[in-house]
């Protein structure tokens, strides 16, 4: 089938220089040549693999580098404990500086703070757990309402009505020197 390769005659011992060899010598040369060829092919493959590998490892690490950095969230202040009134959720704007690769940026965010008393403050993520719309506080009914698909959450963040699969997400909180701080976002459970 594949005849082209058979037609291809390659000169065995180079074309240039040297007296014509006897057929015995030629035979010896051919077998030596083949051993040498195999040796060189193997060495070439080996060297190539070593070089390839010693390139592939650092390059892979380099490209995957961001995945190897542990994200750590630090607590950021969102206001004084006294800013908030019991039973009256307040939407707070807060900001913090964040290292974004080589850029130092100011990130602006919001959160809902719900205070029962000084020792019982919950801070909710401002995004509806359905598809992420921003919900609002409906004072008359004392419920959170989402304008997108009609979700209703209680003041505790539980789903009262609508499509959300879980209660509102909330932040880790702590109070220090009368300031309210929030940390990692915890997914609402239920």
């Amino acid at each position: 089938m594949n005849e082209t390769s058979e037609f291809h005659q390659e000169p065995v011992n180079g074309e240039v220089g040297g007296a014509p060899a006897s057929s015995e010598q030629k035979q010896a040369l051919i077998s030596e040549e083949i051993n040498r060829r195999q040796f060189l092919t193997t060495m070439l493959g080996l060297t190539g693999s070593v070089i390839g590998l010693s390139l592939a490892v650092p390059l892979t690490g380099y490209a995957l580098s961001p995945a190897m950095v542990k994200e750590k969230t630090e607590f950021v202040p969102v206001g004084s404990v006294t800013d908030f009134k019991a039973g009256e959720p307040i939407k707070v704007n807060y900001s913090f500086r964040k290292k974004d690769g080589w850029v130092d940026t100011e990130v602006k965010k919001t959160a809902w703070v719900v205070k029962k008393d000084d020792n019982n403050i919950t801070v909710f993520s401002p995004n509806c757990t359905h598809l992420g719309c921003g919900y609002v506080w409906d004072a008359p009914s004392k419920q959170f309402k989402c304008p997108c698909h009609g979700a209703v959450f209680s003041m505790e963040g539980e789903v009262v009505a609508g499509p959300p699969p879980r209660p509102l997400d909330r932040f880790e909180t702590k109070v220090a020197d009368g300031k309210l701080l929030i940390g990692k976002l915890l997914e609402g459970e239920g």
Binding site: N2, F7, L59
Partner: protein
């Protein structure tokens, strides 16, 4: 395993003949280690291309961010220091090897008929290699980079009559700035590589077509 995969490919593409033709090229006996310099240069160039592609992953060609992004590569990216320094050292390596290669060709008289054309292509390759060095040197946007480019472009600007025009084209204005950085970047990563690869194609084609030059 490889043999089997190769047979499979050959059955469909009938490539064994061509591959043999390309790889099993007889090398005349007078060829010795001195003939390796072109190949070494090419190997270094391939390394430059690979490491360069990876550097662009984090580098930003803007005065606000260039320096910080390079610093980020060196200090925070895994193996970033290694990749960056391979590219930096490699650039000097290419220049050194290309000159050694040129000297080999010169002292063997390998530039003589019928290889004059390949010598000329070689001269252009030399200029492209230096172009890479000049444009790449600016990219970290540190003091050394900035002033080296100020001086380099000013030299080009000392040409009578056309001086101001040349400076404006080279710097993208009278002063070194954002426009200089982006055009040097574009030259370094798109224009010069395209020219380089095209000319290397011509260089290698001619070597194959004419065969390596004979013994001295």
């Amino acid at each position: 395993m490889f043999a089997k995969a190769y047979d499979w490919l050959d059955e469909r593409l009938n490539i064994k003949g061509q591959v043999k033709e390309i790889l099993d090229h007889p090398v005349p006996p007078h060829v010795n280690w001195l003939y390796c310099f072109g190949g070494i240069t090419f190997t270094l160039i391939m390394l430059q291309i690979v490491t360069g592609i990876f550097l662009v992953m984090y580098y930003v060609p803007s005065p606000d961010h260039a320096y910080a992004s390079v610093e980020y590569i060196s200090k925070e990216v895994t193996f970033g220091k290694l990749i960056r320094n391979m590219h930096r050292l490699g650039s000097s390596g290419v220049v050194v090897m290309v000159v050694v290669h040129l000297l080999r060709v010169y002292f063997h008289g390998a530039y003589k008929k019928p290889r004059e054309l390949n010598w000329m292509v070689g001269v252009f390759l030399l200029m492209v290699v230096m172009g890479f060095g000049f444009t790449g040197y600016l990219l970290p946007w540190d003091q050394k980079a900035y002033w080296a480019t100020v001086v380099g472009t000013k030299m080009a600007g000392s040409v009578p009559l056309m001086g101001e025009f040349i400076i404006k084209v080279a710097r993208g204005g009278m002063d070194l700035g954002a426009v200089t950085l982006t055009r040097f970047f574009a030259l370094h990563i798109w224009f010069l590589p395209a020219i380089l690869l095209g000319m290397l194609g011509a260089h290698f084609f001619m070597i194959r077509k004419q065969g390596i030059s004979g013994p001295m």
